[in-house]
């Protein structure tokens, strides 16, 4: 294995990973997923961004599980993945139906709840 960062002489701070590091990544991915959901109009891409948010949450959970030395977090990631899968299946089925109706994946097509 390559030498550790510490062995390589990196400053201690740089090679001491904290919970915060992982949480930041998780937060940034979540935020990117949120922005993507709000910004894109393609229905499938919107759902993809929600999957991204799921993933970020999973990362946070695993980091916390490691922090607390408790396996509960990781078990829950399994459930999260399960639910994400089920939801993706349903969402995609509905998207297909919607597509068949309007021949378009534009989320702005569906505005019948206006007012």
């Amino acid at each position: 294995m390559m030498t550790t960062l510490a062995q390589a002489g990196f400053p201690a701070a740089m090679h001491q990973l904290t919970l915060a590091h992982y949480l930041f990544i998780s937060g940034a991915m979540f935020m990117l997923g949120l922005i993507g959901f709000l910004t894109r109009r393609n229905l499938i891409i919107m759902f993809l961004c929600t999957e991204l948010m799921f993933q970020a949450a999973g990362l946070a959970l695993v980091a916390f599980s490691r922090f607390h030395m408790n396996m509960t977090g990781q078990s829950f990631v399994i459930f999260i993945v399960t639910v994400a899968a089920a939801e993706a299946a349903m969402a995609l089925a509905l998207v297909v139906l919607l597509f068949r109706k309007r021949e378009s994946l534009d989320a702005a097509e569906w505005q019948e709840m206006k007012g």
Binding site: Q16, I25, G27, M29, M31, F99
Partner: protein, 324 residues
């Protein structure tokens, strides 16, 4: 908890990142702002990571192995996520998503959660994303000959980018502020020494001892009343029952450890059995739902019919032209 990162740097990076993402979002006109935006966003991300790296101290002396892999995986993950949301073509976005999944799996590995990493890759990348790709290809409008490379209108332009970006980055700033300032005295969850589970896996101990050759023939690991092995963790010895009925303490092999898989398994089945059942039900419902939904024959909407007719007319006109 001390400040991990200078708040000014954090907020500054957030703002910079916001601008960068805003520029990077899909737009109809020229592509240069997007590239510029991507550069800026990565710059912002880099600043944060660097600042974190410089300021972070060894807080959890658990001994996480310092690794450059974290930074690699982190950068890949963020970059792939950015590309997911900014790429105009859906297929590319899905593929970038796969990349981000892989990066996340890498991060899991660093956290010693190898089972989670594998599960993530197999389920997410291998199943869900494939489904997404199928549906994307199913639901894309068939392009006409001269519109092959055209993007649909809804893919090109971002919608309400400013609000979305602003909201997102404010959230990020808030979340990270919380992280870095701490919330005072939060109680920690009770830590479980995962290694203590070793006692509940006598078969594993046996096979390990067998592999290491420490087990005399005919000897078995003794079971106590609840079916566990009797392990002395301090001395790392386990009691075995000899063929002639006597007991002896044998030292455990050095590399015998409870794997993450086993730990997750124990936790799942012991502490959350009900949730497993419910998860199973959810999956069943999803499957049934998918079957039911996909059977419906949906009538085309009026507008869609109109468009379809126009398209056909255009096609026929062209067909007349091209077919003499």
């Amino acid at each position: 908890m001390d400040q991990v990162i200078n708040p000014l740097a954090l907020y500054g990076a957030c703002a910079l990142g916001a601008i960068g993402v805003l520029l990077a979002l899909p737009r109809r006109d020229s592509k240069t702002p997007q590239i510029l935006g991507a550069v800026i966003a990565s710059l912002a991300g880099g600043i944060v990571l660097l600042a974190m790296g410089l300021k972070a101290g060894g807080l959890f002396g658990i001994g996480l192995s310092p690794s450059v892999y974290f930074y690699v995986f982190a950068l890949v993950a963020l970059g792939a996520s950015l590309r997911v949301i900014t790429h105009p073509r859906p297929v590319y976005a899905a593929l970038y998503f796969v990349l981000s999944i892989l990066a996340t799996a890498g991060l899991f590995l660093i956290l010693s959660a190898e089972f989670m990493a594998f599960a993530l890759v197999i389920v997410y990348a291998g199943a869900i994303l494939i489904t997404y790709l199928f549906v994307i290809m199913l639901a894309t409008q068939a392009p006409t000959e001269d519109l092959e490379n055209a993007l649909t209108e809804y893919d090109t332009a971002a919608r309400e980018p400013v609000i979305a970006t602003a909201a997102g980055f404010v959230l990020l700033a808030v979340l990270t502020t919380l992280m870095f300032r701490g919330v005072g005295e939060l109680p920690k969850a009770p830590a479980i020494n995962g290694q203590s589970l070793l006692a509940e896996m006598p078969r594993k101990i046996e096979s390990a001892l067998l592999a290491a050759g420490s087990l005399p023939s005919g000897a078995k690991v003794t079971f106590d009343s609840s079916g566990d092995a009797k392990v002395d963790f301090a001395a790392r010895t386990v009691e075995i029952k000899l063929a002639d009925g006597g007991t002896r303490m044998v030292s455990l092999p050095g590399d015998l450890a409870v794997t993450n898989t086993e730990m997750v398994g124990f936790n799942l089945l012991r502490d959350h059995p009900g949730s497993i059942e419910i998860a199973g039900v959810i999956l069943l419902m999803a499957m049934l739902g998918a079957v039911v939904l996909s059977r419906k024959q949906v009538q085309l909407d009026e507008d869609a019919k109109e468009r379809h007719a126009k398209l056909l007319a255009a096609e026929m006109a062209q067909g007349v032209e091209t077919n003499p």
